[in-house]
Symmetry: C2
Subunit: 147 residues, 2 copies
């Protein structure tokens, strides 16, 4: 891009950001491969780690159809990484809940990265942290504008 879009040239941050985004995209690919999961399965575990959700919501966060996420849940369930549970209030719904095995898989694969990120984070002074956060939120917003 930088070659023909002059005003974006020579910005070290923009350059670093692009590199970050590229690497961040490679990581799930590689980690999933090592874990014997598809990237969708890995992303699902990562999101289910936070809180349970149904196949349709999962489809939304993955950016796929519910037909696809139904298969994702099937495969994760067959490996024991998640469980389907009936929703207490709405009998149409299924809650997909991550199991201990699923949690361990996520932690085992991603903890080293989070440790490294925490270290980078810890090196920031409060003032610097505020600057970085503002930048990250701004960049996120700029990307979201495309969608």
């Amino acid at each position: 891009m930088a070659d023909v879009v002059p005003q974006y040239r020579n910005s070290a941050t923009l350059d670093a950001l692009q590199e970050l985004v590229d690497v961040a995209a490679q990581v799930p690919h590689e980690v999933a491969r090592k874990a014997g999961l598809s990237t969708s399965e890995l992303h699902s575990l990562r999101h289910l780690f936070e809180h349970p959700m149904g196949p349709v919501e999962l489809a939304r966060v993955l950016g796929v159809t519910s037909a696809a996420s139904s298969g994702v849940v099937d495969r994760l369930a067959s490996r024991g990484h998640v469980e389907r549970r009936p929703h207490p209030d709405d009998r149409r719904r299924t809650e997909v809940v991550i199991t201990e095995s699923g949690r361990l898989e996520v932690i085992r694969r991603l903890a080293p990265m989070f440790a490294g990120l925490a270290e980078v984070d810890a090196a920031l002074s409060p003032a610097e942290r505020a600057v970085v956060e503002r930048y990250l939120r701004g960049a996120t917003a700029a990307m979201q504008a495309l969608m």
Copy 2:
């Protein structure tokens, strides 16, 4: 993650970073869909924008096999977005060169994002920019450690 890995809790930057990475992963998916390209095809154009490369190098940056990238180049070439050219020095090689049509496609789809990012970037003082760059490079390194 934050729920069960206490030392990572309450870091606004880490939280913002995760959000950024998630959005950054959604963007190519969505942009490619709108452009009628696969994500691999879009990523290929993005990298070929910088400089030509052969199918094998393309495969490496995409994280797929050369068999797959061969197909990617086929599809991009059939749409007129790239051209195969014989490498001047090494007759085993093919150089895949982006065409004007390919450049336009990339610019048209991604320029708004880069404009937004440049704006965020421009809001930084030189000192702040240095902080942000250091953080981004550090985060990139932490991610790369997994691979």
